[in-house]
Amino acid sequence: MVQLILESLFNGIAIGSVLLIAALGLAIVFGLMGVINLAHGELMMLGAYSTYVTQLVFKLPALKPFYNSYVIVSLMVAFLVAAVVGILLERSIIRRLYGSPLETLLATWGVSLILQQFVRSVPLAYASGIIIALLIGLIVPLIVPHDLLSHRRNRLIKVGSLGGSVLVGLLSANWLSTSISRLGRASARNVDVTAPSWMRGGLDLWGITFPVTRLVIIVITIIAVISVTWFLKQSVWGMRIRAVTQNREMSECLGISTKKVDVLTFGIGSGLAGVAGVAVSLLGSVGPNVGGSYIVGCFMVVVLGGVGNLLGTIIASFAIGIMTDLIGAGRLLSIWPDMPSPLASTVDFFATTSMARVLVFALIVVFLQFRPSGLFPQKGRMVES
């Protein structure tokens, strides 16, 4: 009995932690910037593909000895890839649409379509090349000494760094496509990320087997949540981000660069989507549509938890996770076998993953009847004005 409850609790937390890591970035972008990013799922998809590419790179002879640690490297790679694409998205499109969330929603949906088709039609090697070029193009201006940029030949330096990043991108694309032939061809087919040997199998405790993959995902989620909380509450930039959220004009007057804050916030939110992509890639096969199946669940988490509230997001994702598992796996029946038969047949009716979703959504709508702004609503005059 205790075992059963424990097992179902673990499963619920496992489902919830995937939801949480996926919704975390969304909650930041939505809660702090008021931006609905429907391309969030596709940023996750990019993270998942980054894991795949990283894994293949680690299979090359030179890196083979370190193969077991590729997951840790891919976390960073995925974060960077998704963050770069996210920043590009923010600078090019979303920046123009601040204050009109419905328009942002439609534009980001357009972006998500383009990204999906992009991974179908462009070979992964070249996609990686483009991202590497973007990454270098973004980083070079940050690390080049300031004096050099204000030099009168700064145009030359700019052109040089641009050309350099394009060149590096091209070279790496070329190298990837020749050394890993699988990356050289465009394909719409799903790919599989194989977990390193230490992540396979399970951990036996109290007579229950805990799959290691799930445990790793829970750990990743915990680390992500803690570092985001620390960053927002303790660091200087975190404080600036919160300041801009509360009063944009005032922050500008105080000399905070709202442009930098926007880029940073969106970059972090997108990067977290990339990290979520790593988690997702460990659970199943990776395809262009992998993100789409998570996005609605993520939004439900954010709405249920109350927008702009990290604690609400955490509680909501675990609540949804546990409920989905309880209903979807028909676990209620095994916990309480002598259920009266009409109730039992109802429980049985909802005992599939998709029907569990139906019921969980219905419960969320019922819940919103009593608490329209979620678990932890924002209060005060600011909300309506």
Binding site: G34, L102, V111, L368
Partner: protein, 375 residues
């Protein structure tokens, strides 16, 4: 009033004449395959009209119109299946046999009646919309939250229909092209020709209906809700009821549209309730011109026509084009093509090109609503 390059009244008239002329000419000019495609696109124009009512006029962006579209389609398909299964074992549609079902599920029963089906096609979706809308609007859930919830509802309906093989044939959907109506195959050329005419007629009828809704004070209240809902409320109007009504109307239109689409495409399936399809509907209205009823019709027909042309020639590129359209229409063409033509669009373009003098004000700067939740 400002002069525009194209007269506000004359311009829609020209478009109408063109539309009606081409509808009349189409059956004799087009082969049945193309005519059938055109008929399908015209039926999609009806759901687009509904979206224009709720989004263009009332400011409610629903991403779940696929629910009502599919419900209408299922109503029609259930009737057609029952209508032609009298000679089958147990007198029930064939697919039930695959799952070992002997008797008809209870909710199929009323669809034996043509009258019930005829009413149900629009009434059932609008009742579902009214219920869903009321529960959401009652709590002042609006803006993006409404969009997210409609999208989630869509996913729920998709999962339900997709998972219930024994009730509604699950992911396979219900076929209509091999069913019979008035002793003829629904998929036959003559029936398809007839459906084309019915669709064309209903599009015109739906346009008149939508125009009646938005023409006078009711429509002004809707626009008021879009631009400043709480002001409408403080003037003494119950905005919840207004929004519920218009959402139900849009649901009903979607149901009619879905039924017409189903009989012309030969099948209804949970694919009608996928997330991308419902968002696609929004882009038809956005490109055509939200807030202009004619724009919704034109957008639906033109974009779908373009989609079939592009998909035939270059299948991979349609996603890029569609994605680009979404971005383009919100960043540079928020009023849509028709709205752009009717406002100062052409004049501004000419002035950019140096042909005539630019206007001193920039339109669109003042279009911020007070009520959108901004964080």
């Amino acid at each position: 009033m400002k002069k525009t390059l194209i007269n506000r009244r004359l311009f829609p008239l020209i478009i109408w004449i063109t539309i009606i002329a081409s509808i009349i000419a189409a059956p004799s000019l087009l082969p049945v395959f193309r005519l059938n495609l055109l008929g399908r696109y015209l039926s999609l124009a009806i759901v687009a009209l509904g979206i224009d009512l709720i989004w263009g006029f009332t400011g409610l962006l629903s991403l779940g119109q696929g629910i009502f579209f599919a419900l209408g389609g299922y109503c029609a398909a259930m009737f057609l299946q029952l209508n032609s299964s009298a000679n089958l074992p147990n007198g029930i549609p064939e697919f039930f046999g695959l799952y070992g079902i002997q008797s008809l599920p209870f909710f199929w029963e009323p669809f034996k009646s043509p009258l019930f089906t005829f009413v149900g096609i629009w009434l059932i979706p609008s009742l579902v919309a009214a219920l869903l809308g009321f529960l959401v609007f009652r709590n002042r859930i609006k803006g993006v939250y409404f969009s997210i919830l409609t999208q989630a509802a869509l996913l729920v309906f998709f999962n339900f229909f997709n998972g219930q093989q024994k009730l509604i044939n699950g992911t396979n959907g219900l076929k209509t092209d091999v069913t019979e109506l008035f002793g003829q195959m629904v998929g036959s050329d003559s029936m398809q020709r007839m459906f084309f005419w019915i669709t064309a007629l209903l599009v015109v009828f739906a346009w008149f209906f939508a125009r009646w809704i938005v023409y006078d004070r009711f429509g002004n209240i809707l626009k008021g809700i879009r631009d400043d809902e709480s002001r409408v409320r403080f003037t003494g109007y119950n905005t919840t009821i207004f929004k519920t009504i218009v959402f139900a109307i849009a649901g009903g239109l979607a149901g009619i549209s879905g039924a017409l689409y189903t009989v012309q495409s030969g099948i209804v399936s949970p694919q009608f309730m996928t997330v991308p399809f419902s968002i696609e509907m929004v882009i038809w209205v956005a490109v055509g011109g939200r807030g202009t009823l004619l724009g919704a019709i034109l957008g639906a027909v033109m974009i779908n026509y373009a989609k079939s042309l592009v998909s035939e020639a270059l299948p991979a590129s349609w996603m890029f084009i569609q994605g680009g359209l979404f971005i383009l229409v919100v960043t540079v063409l928020p009023e849509g093509v028709l709205g752009w033509l009717q406002s100062d669009g052409p004049r501004n373009l000419l002035s950019r090109l140096g042909v005539s003098r630019p206007l001193s004000t920039y339109p669109g700067l003042e279009e911020k609503s007070h009520d959108e939740v901004r964080l």
